[in-house]
């Protein structure tokens, strides 16, 4: 289990390989990488030249650890990893990596999606986009809230 909040990029291959290294019970490794797009998330056609990710140091790690512990309680995971970057990022840059290793593929897929849905609605990060019309804070999306609510109750 690991949660990392960092400014630097990460090595996808090395991180994923480490999750199953030496553990012969891992049959399934599901992962997700989020990247900066050159267009605003809601598809209003506004081009994005860069974004800055602000976060709440301390609370971020706490929330990510709580989310990860919840995933491990719900699914039989051998290991799992969340890396979230902060600072200034450009289109094509990686923002986040979530990866789950399990004996079973359903558990690996579900836990990975659960972690992404919760991270989008619970982890204290905020995106400031740079567009030709100036900087603007990205607004939270109802669809993300709805996605996270699927996992409740």
């Amino acid at each position: 289990m690991a949660v990392r909040v960092q400014e630097a990029d990460f090595d996808m291959g090395a991180e994923l390989a480490a999750l199953s290294a030496g553990n012969r019970r891992v049959g399934a490794l599901a992962s997700f990488v989020g990247l900066v797009r050159d267009m605003h998330v809601d598809g209003d056609g506004q081009p994005v030249s860069a974004m800055t990710l602000e976060h709440y140091p301390g609370m971020t790690e706490r929330q990510l650890e709580a989310i990860e512990a919840e995933a491990r309680a719900r699914w039989p995971l051998e290991d799992c990893l969340v890396i979230h970057r902060y600072g200034r990022l450009e289109p094509g840059d990686r923002i986040v990596l979530v990866a789950c290793a399990s004996p079973h593929r359903d558990a690996a897929f579900e836990a990975c999606r659960f972690l992404m849905d919760w991270l989008k609605t619970k982890a204290p990060f905020w995106k400031l986009e740079e567009t030709p019309e100036g900087r603007r804070w990205v607004e939270a999306r109802d669809s993300d809230t709805a996605a996270a609510e699927r996992w409740q109750g």
Binding site: E54, Y56, L119, K120, T121, A123, P124, F125, W126, A140
Partner: protein, 83 residues
Amino acid sequence: MRLLYFAWLRSKIGLAEESVEPPAGVTDVAGLVEWLRGRGPGYADALANLAVVKVAVNQEYVPFDHPVGPGDEVALFPPVTGG
């Protein structure tokens, strides 16, 4: 009491953090927000619509009726947009 502001709440208030000593009548988040609104137009603007303000006390999400006291770290910020 230590206050932290993030994203556009920080921009509007013009501060990332501050230490305050609210009057004794301020006992919960709602009371704190009401008191902060009176501190200036930046605060009033940032805290005008509480539907888009989230609160954490000591780094845990809480509702507006959650108690606050002198030693607490209280953070006010918009809905998160990471991931």
